[in-house]
């Protein structure tokens, strides 16, 4: 089974181009941070409430990326809000993305290609070698969202991550998406870490929009 960080990375990747799709500002940074925390929560290593996130079990998960996050969480003796940790790990997103990519390549799901544009600029692309897991996830999420079934915790996290990065509309026709938008929002709310993550992304988008409008007015 893939980790949430791997799943969101694959969902965000344009399979044909091998590059990350255009996403809201900082969305992937926060989505990866949220994905790692939600993985730890579902593996019963952390718990959260409306005020703080706490480590409840220090036993390693066996996933080196998650275990580094778990170690990092234990370094801070004072409980901090989930938003604090989301920013902390989002700030390390570049390094986390490299580790997630390396693992997807190692698993044979992606391959790395270096291409030159105009014979000068080297561009790195990651074409998908084996996309059966992503296809399965997309099909499962589509069916779940179109039905009135209750999701399991894992599905809630995937809907939350996909919605925060605005990647779920790709699963539906425009008419279908219009009909299911309210359900997606309702399902995405069910996870408290995911809610904090989506809030952080929206706040950054809002700040950027204000900054841009002020620049245009100046």
């Amino acid at each position: 089974m893939l980790s949430f960080a791997e799943e969101i990375f694959l969902l965000a990747l344009d399979d044909k181009q091998g590059v990350i799709k255009p996403l809201p500002v900082s969305a992937l940074d926060y989505a990866l941070a949220g994905a790692m925390l939600m993985d730890l929560a579902l593996q019963d290593r952390i718990d959260t409430d409306l005020t703080s996130l706490s480590v409840t079990d220090t036993k390693p998960t066996g996933d080196p990326i998650l275990d580094d996050v778990l170690r990092d969480l234990q370094q801070n003796p004072v409980p901090q809000p989930t938003s604090f940790w989301l920013k902390h790990f989002a700030d390390q997103s570049k390094r986390i993305q490299e580790r997630v990519l390396a693992r997807l390549i190692q698993k044979g799901i992606l391959k790395q290609e270096n291409r030159r544009i105009l014979w000068v600029f080297e561009v790195r692309r990651y074409p998908v070698m084996d996309n059966h897991e992503v296809k399965e996830v997309k099909t499962r999420l589509r069916e779940l969202i179109l039905s009135d079934d209750i999701p399991d915790s894992r599905e809630v996290v995937l809907i939350n991550l996909g919605n925060a990065c605005r990647l779920l509309d790709d699963l539906f026709t425009p008419a279908e998406y219009e009909k299911v938008r309210a359900r997606i929002v309702a399902l995405a709310r069910l996870d408290l870490i995911g809610q904090e993550m989506a809030k952080s992304i929206r706040e950054i988008e809002r700040t950027m929009a204000i900054a841009m409008s002020m620049t245009m007015m100046a």
């Binding site: 019963d44 409430d49 915790s153 809630v156 309702a186 709310r189 069910l190 996870d191 408290l192």
Partner: protein, 112 residues
């Protein structure tokens, strides 16, 4: 956390008291899974003695609601404190399972 079970007609009532967090949620999960496994289909969780619920606790209710729905049953929550209700409101749990102000309302709705 303490739990106790009773029945009113075809409705099974699970009374939950104390704190529902990562330490206590496996026990409640086991209890609810056991109820579904033993054939209970209309289940009301009475929360009037529940002081606190964390993310781990929310996941237990989500899982139980899913299993009961798959078994053509129904999970309802009853009489949460204002503090617990606030968490349900923020997580939007009312879109997934009914939450009633009183136990009688919940039992009445499930018995129909």
């Amino acid at each position: 956390m303490n739990t106790s079970e009773s029945k009113q007609g075809n409705v099974t009532i699970l009374q939950v008291q104390g704190k529902l967090d990562s330490a206590s949620s496996p026990e409640l999960d086991k209890r609810l899974t056991g109820l579904v496994g033993s054939g209970a289909r209309q289940v009301v969780v009475n929360l009037d003695g529940l002081e606190y619920v964390s993310s781990a606790g929310l996941r237990v209710f989500l899982s139980a609601a899913k299993h009961l729905k798959q078994a053509q049953g129904k999970l309802a929550l009853a009489s949460p404190s204002a503090q617990v209700q606030q968490i349900f409101d923020i997580a939007g749990f009312a879109s997934i399972m009914p939450i009633y102000k009183t136990l009688n309302e919940a039992v009445g709705a499930c018995a129909m």
